[in-house]
């Protein structure tokens, strides 16, 4: 994992026992994880454990730690990567373990946070159909053709999970073509698993 100089500097400050004692360190890491996950963080750094640390330094460490956490989640870093990175910035093993346990605890939420930075097409949640038989219309007296009215219920993640309908009509052949293609897709999916 590649880290910029400012992040490295911030983490080094965090590792320094003269600056952060262990109690302050654990409180600070909790705050860092929470501040990424919860939206009310204006006064997050106003903790009694962190009172005696210079606020500018504290904020620098906060930037560094949050950046480090996000990079770790982004690259799906495992324990060895995290601990080697932290040991490079002079964390002792106790702090590495403490950090890693909080990391592990929050990993799932952070992953979903990062994966929510996305744009995805709507997902289909339900489908319904209706057979329509047209006997005649205003222009032709004798039509006598069946058509299918298909309605897909979709769920869109971009607009806070609102659902909407996609409606279309098709003839039997078109429907068969659609179904065939869907089956083909499912089959190729299964084939892809057998590598």
């Amino acid at each position: 994992m590649e880290l910029s100089d400012s992040v490295v500097k911030g983490l080094q400050t965090l590792a320094d026992p003269a600056c952060f004692d262990f109690r302050a360190f654990t409180a600070f890491t909790e705050v860092a994880f929470d501040s990424l996950l919860s939206s009310r963080t204006d006064r997050a750094l106003d903790l009694p454990e962190l009172k005696k640390i210079d606020q500018a330094l504290l904020k620098h460490c906060h930037v560094a730690t949050t950046t480090f956490i996000l990079e770790g989640i982004k690259q799906n870093a495992d324990k060895s990567t995290i601990s080697s990175c932290l040991e490079d910035v002079k964390f002792d093993s106790e702090r590495v373990d403490a950090f890693y346990t909080s990391y592990q605890k929050n990993k799932r939420n952070l992953e979903s946070l990062l994966s929510s930075i996305d744009r995805c097409p709507p997902h289909i949640t339900d489908a319904s159909w209706r057979l329509e038989y047209c006997m005649k219309n205003g222009h032709v007296h004798n039509v006598n053709q069946p058509t299918f009215l298909i309605s897909f219920n979709t769920e869109d993640g971009g607009n806070e999970g609102t659902s909407s309908d996609v409606n279309f009509s098709c003839t039997l052949e078109q429907l068969q073509d659609l179904v065939g293609k869907m089956k083909d897709a499912a089959k190729s999916m299964e084939r892809a698993t057998q590598l």
């Binding site: 904020k59 993640g157 057998q194």
Partner: protein, 639 residues
């Protein structure tokens, strides 16, 4: 044999043969299975050989025969030494098939084993990961949104989405300067007023995006600087700070030049005046930042004049506004009048403008002419001054000579002595100069050499540094590669089935080897025993012969004299003959026993060859062929 069969079946499965789970030994192989296994192996060993043969036995007898023949031919082409023909496949017997399959399995290429040592390509790894993920997702049933558990939410619902929207963050540190150099106010701001980064963006959803973006930009800036420093900065032999400041100055100069050329007022664009004034302002601000803000206190003539014009401008604008405002209420005339008036005014003004511009051009031409003439005149002036001073010098010399003329002889002597003295002095000075010069030149040379040496050294060191940089990069890359390979191998190792224990196999192999050793020892023991026995037998027969000969002679001698002795001689002869017969019989029994054992073995092998069933099969096939033939003949007759 079970062990061998299991290994054989395992390798055949790997080669692509579809063997049922309940087939445990080669004994259970049917003809179809044998043909399929052999064809699959042939295809793997040599695609050219195996591709022409089908993996299934055809129904027709003659086609089967042909298939068997071609398979046998292919196996012989591969170098199989044993007996092989169509009967090997159609009327199989266990040992033959086993030896054939063993031969084929040994011939199978071992690529797969070697490939696992190489690092799998990234794409292969990725594909594996994708396949695993899809498998996991397929294993979960799809549920409608109302029934979803949190477990399914991750893969089956789109979830809330945001686009990647990064916002600039205000950071409590500066990338350019160390924090000690920061102004007190800035530090105060950092300490008291600056919000934590996670609450800076307006929406909480853009926090991770902003942080990641910020980090990436810092990283890329650092990387770019590194690249530039390695390629150009090192060669310039400056410290990083010097290099940076020099580069900044260069860039600023370039930008300034560009802007200045762009800011030149062009006569054809009337609207450009405003933008150019903006540009000049920008230029000024450039100068201001470049010199560190002291321009405000000191100020140049240029800035003063600029300031003057700029401070005047608002006033002017205000005046104009006031004039316009005063004009507005007085406009009680009709609109048309106003329009006409305005148009007249406009044309008037335009005319004025044109006149003015024409005048400007004229005046500009005059100015140019005048400046040219001023140049010319000043040049002339310089020349004149030069000639003037020359003339003054000559006048001085001439004046002196005229002064000296009255007492010419005395003055001549004086002058000569003066000249001689000065000549002597010159020589003296020259010799002194030489004295001084030699060491100085030496020193100069020495220093020059030193300098060039230093330069050489420094360039050598530079190249060394470059090499080192390259090496560092290479090794870092290699280390990364190795690490990833190590990780991959570890994961592979973890996924490998653990029940195939290598140690058990090696143990068994070692056991087998020791067994073989023991057997060998026993065999050698038995061999030596037999040899000893043979020797003993030989010795005994020799002894017997000799004793018989001696006894025979003794008894024969006495037999001529005595009747009873003759009788005993006869008995002796009979005894000897009987004994030889006995020995003969025993030997015969031995050979017969051996023959019996051989025959028994032969019977066993013949039994193993499934002769009876094979014969029945052959008979059936023979009948089938005859039927086919007769059918064909009937067809021909009919045709």
């Amino acid at each position: 044999m079970e062990e061998v069969d299991r290994i054989l079946i395992h390798s055949l499965r790997q080669a692509g043969t579809d063997i049922d789970e309940d087939v445990q030994s080669v004994k259970q192989f049917t003809s179809e299975l044998i043909v399929e296994a052999v064809v699959r192996c042939l295809r793997v060993i040599d695609p050219g050989l195996g591709s022409g043969v089908s993996t299934t036995l055809p129904p027709g007898m003659s086609a089967r025969f042909r298939l068997g023949m071609s398979l046998a031919q292919a196996c012989q082409d591969l170098g199989y030494k044993g007996e092989i023909g169509y009967q090997t496949f159609l009327y199989s017997n266990e040992p033959e098939i086993r030896s054939l399959l063993m031969f084929l399995v040994e011939k199978l290429p071992r690529e797969s084993a070697e490939a696992s040592d190489q690092p799998a390509g990234k794409s292969a790894l990725l594909q594996k990961a994708i396949a695993a993920q899809i498998k996991a997702q397929l294993a979960l049933p799809w549920l409608p949104p109302s029934c979803r558990l949190p477990l399914h939410c991750k893969t089956q619902s789109p979830g809330p989405c945001h686009s990647f929207r990064a916002q600039p963050l205000s950071l409590p540190y500066s990338l350019k300067a160390p924090s000690k150099k920061q102004a007190k106010e800035v530090k105060e701001y950092w300490r008291v007023h600056l919000l934590p980064v996670t609450s800076q963006p307006s929406q909480h959803a853009s926090v991770p995006a902003s942080l990641l973006e910020n980090h990436v930009s810092e990283l890329s800036a650092a990387q770019e600087w590194e690249n530039e420093w390695n390629s150009q900065g090192l060669l310039s032999r400056l410290t990083p700070e010097d290099y940076r400041s020099r580069k900044r100055a260069r860039l600023q100069k370039r930008i300034e030049e560009q802007l200045r050329t762009a800011a030149q007022p062009r006569p054809d664009t009337h609207g450009a005046t405003r933008s150019t004034s903006d540009l000049t302002e920008l230029l000024n601000s450039f100068g201001g930042t470049a010199t560190g803000g002291d321009i405000l206190t000191k100020g140049t003539r240029f800035t003063h004049s600029e300031k003057f014009t700029f401070t005047q401008e608002p006033e002017k604008a205000a005046q104009q506004m006031a004039a316009a405002a005063s004009a507005l209420p007085s406009s009680h005339q009709s609109e048309e009048d106003l329009k006409a008036k305005q148009e007249a005014e406009l044309s008037d003004l335009q005319q004025q403008l044109q006149q003015l511009s024409v005048q400007m051009e004229e005046v500009g031409g005059d100015i140019r002419q005048l400046t040219v003439s001023i140049h010319q005149v000043s040049d002339e002036l310089k020349q004149r001054e030069l000639s003037n001073s020359e003339k003054q010098d000559t006048v001085k010399v001439k004046k002196q000579t005229i002064d000296l003329l009255p007492d010419a002889e005395n003055n001549l002597v004086k002058l000569q002595s003066l000249v001689e003295g000065s000549a002597k002095r010159v020589v003296h000075l020259a010799s002194q100069w030489e004295k001084h010069r030699a060491p100085l030149i030496d020193e100069h040379r020495r220093l020059k050499e030193l300098c060039s040496n230093r330069e050489m050294e420094s360039s050598m060191k530079l190249s060394e540094i470059k090499d080192l940089h390259d090496k560092i990069r290479h090794s870092a890359e290699e280390a990364k590669k190795k690490e990833s390979l190590y990780k991959q191998l570890i994961t592979e190792y973890e996924t490998l089935p653990k029940d195939v224990s290598r140690s058990a196999y090696t143990m068994r192999i070692l056991e087998i080897v020791s067994n073989i050793k023991k057997q060998k020892e026993e065999i050698t023991k038995i061999l030596s025993d037999t040899k000893e026995l043979q020797k003993e037998i030989n010795g005994l027969t020799g002894k017997l012969d000799r004793t018989f000969a001696v006894t025979d002679e003794l008894v024969f001698k006495d037999a001529k004299k005595d009747e009873s002795v003759r009788k005993s001689y006869k008995y002796l002869a009979a005894l000897h003959e009987n004994c030889t017969q006995l020995i003969q019989t025993i030997e015969d029994t031995g050979t017969i026993m051996r023959e019996i054992r051989d025959l028994e073995e032969q019977i066993e092998t013949e039994n193993g060859k499934k002769t009876v069933s094979n014969l029945e099969k052959i008979l059936e096939d023979y009948k089938a062929i005859r039927q086919e033939n007769s059918a064909l003949a009937a067809k021909i007759r009919d045709g």
